[in-house]
């Protein structure tokens, strides 16, 4: 899917969060790096309309997320760094089924689809557990399952491994980079992870300062800081 930014700027109150971004992306694995406050998260939130540009236009596929957030959210699954905030329903299976609440499937079809998705991400055995009792790695897999069951075209993950231990972080990044066939935008501080992407964007001070192959972009990030 083509992601297109045409002279996009975002400001909150008087602060500029993103300054005049122009971009065309259709790579399958898109890494986004930069310091905190550099504009990474704002960039990610523009893709599903959680934030609307103050100026310019964002287009994802053939949808403008600012004017059609409903379609944008159906097309784009979003994963946050804190797994606790994304769980809506009390049990694992209910949370995954919640995504399908407005589909035309029957209750049984929703359950079997949800179970199949949990199976795919290796947490089907937890289906009837209280979602809150899961480990943070399992919660993040639940968040991924809840999003994948809706068959989005694009996954945006905003520092999905930031709160996980090494083993869980590796597990979740493997799922995001290798197991998922959809296009993924991965905002991360983990440079090892960014290095595995097809293309990396580097943000600094609300500007997009570099785009390209992972290795050179990452080394200039390291050189700048």
């Amino acid at each position: 899917m083509l992601i297109e930014f045409e002279s996009v700027s975002v400001s909150f109150d008087a602060k500029t969060a993103l300054d005049n971004i122009n971009l065309k992306l259709d790579q399958k694995r898109i890494g986004v790096i930069g310091l905190n406050g550099s504009g990474k998260s704002t960039f990610a939130r523009l893709l599903n309309g959680l934030i609307a540009p103050t100026e310019g236009t964002v287009t994802v596929g053939d949808i403008n997320p600012a004017t059609n957030p409903k379609a944008a959210r159906q097309q784009t699954g979003f994963i946050f760094s804190n797994p606790d905030v994304q769980i809506i329903m009390p049990t694992v299976i209910e949370d995954v089924s919640f995504t399908l609440r407005s589909s035309k499937l029957s209750k049984d079809e929703i359950r079997s689809k949800a179970l199949a998705t949990l199976e795919r991400f290796g947490i089907a055995h937890l289906a009837d557990q209280a979602a809150h009792s899961l480990s943070s790695g399992q919660k993040q897999l639940l968040a991924i399952s809840s999003i994948m069951v809706g068959e989005p075209k694009l996954i945006v993950a905003d520092e999905p491994t930031a709160l996980l231990d090494l083993a869980n972080a590796r597990l979740v990044s493997r799922v995001l980079l290798e197991q998922i066939e959809q296009q993924v935008v991965l905002v991360t501080h983990d440079l090892e992870l960014a290095a595995k992407c097809d293309i990396v964007l580097l943000f600094a001070g609300a500007k997009l300062v570099e785009v390209g192959e992972p290795a050179p972009v990452i080394s200039s990030y390291l050189a700048q800081n």
Binding site: R73, F78, F80, Q86, I88, T99, A131
Partner: protein
């Protein structure tokens, strides 16, 4: 957290929420009308015992006894001042028993009705509010959010207490509550964003 509901297959368990609630309200109302008559209150006690027996054939009577025993302080505070001020013992005892029975009846409603069933009933009850722009799904979503948030908040409280102990602060209500509120309200705002990301609309 343990829910009060006790699973079972009795007719009381199977009765729909709305009629069960109406019967409860009717019984409590009857009880307060005839509540000064000792014979009527004794009859009500017998009926309540029978209801408990129907709901829990195995241990109905002891469940009821436990319910009434848990009201001992409440009953004492009603009885003691009145006896001190020289009221006759029969009306005082009748009144205390009436109160205990009313509470035991209402508890039976809770014991035999699953929270989910009540949630469905609430969703149905708020259906007419649609006209004012309140969707029943929104109400049940908010209820689910709250149930989920309680263990989260307790977790925040535990973390806050540990952090304060680690820094050598003596835990107090204010020291405890402020960080708890900050963490919870930030969580609420992040949560709202995650809801929007999953396509939830008000």
């Amino acid at each position: 957290m343990r829910a009060l509901f006790r699973p079972g297959a009795s007719p009381l368990h199977r009765l729909a929420v709305a009629p069960k609630l109406l019967i409860l309200i009717a019984l409590v109302a009857l009880l307060s009308v005839f509540g000064t008559n000792p014979t009527a209150v004794l009859a009500a006690l017998a009926a309540t015992t029978a209801f408990y027996k129907i709901a829990f054939p195995a241990d109905g009577v002891s469940t009821l006894a436990k319910q009434i025993w848990s009201l001992k302080w409440l009953i004492l505070i009603i009885v003691i001042p009145q006896v001190i001020f020289g009221a006759a013992w029969l009306p005082v005892a009748t009144n205390a028993l009436r109160l205990a029975i009313a509470i035991a009846l209402a508890t039976l409603f809770t014991l035999t009705t699953a929270s989910e069933a009540m949630q469905v009933a609430i969703e149905r009850a708020v259906g007419p509010l649609k006209r004012f722009g309140i969707k029943p799904e929104t109400v049940s979503l908010t209820i689910a959010m709250t149930i989920n948030a309680i263990p989260m908040i307790l977790q925040f409280a535990k973390q806050t207490r540990e952090a304060q102990l680690a820094r050598g602060a003596k835990p107090s209500i204010t020291l405890m509550t402020v960080p708890l509120l900050v963490a919870s309200l930030k969580y609420a705002d992040d949560f709202a964003e995650a809801l929007a990301a999953r396509g939830v609309e008000v």
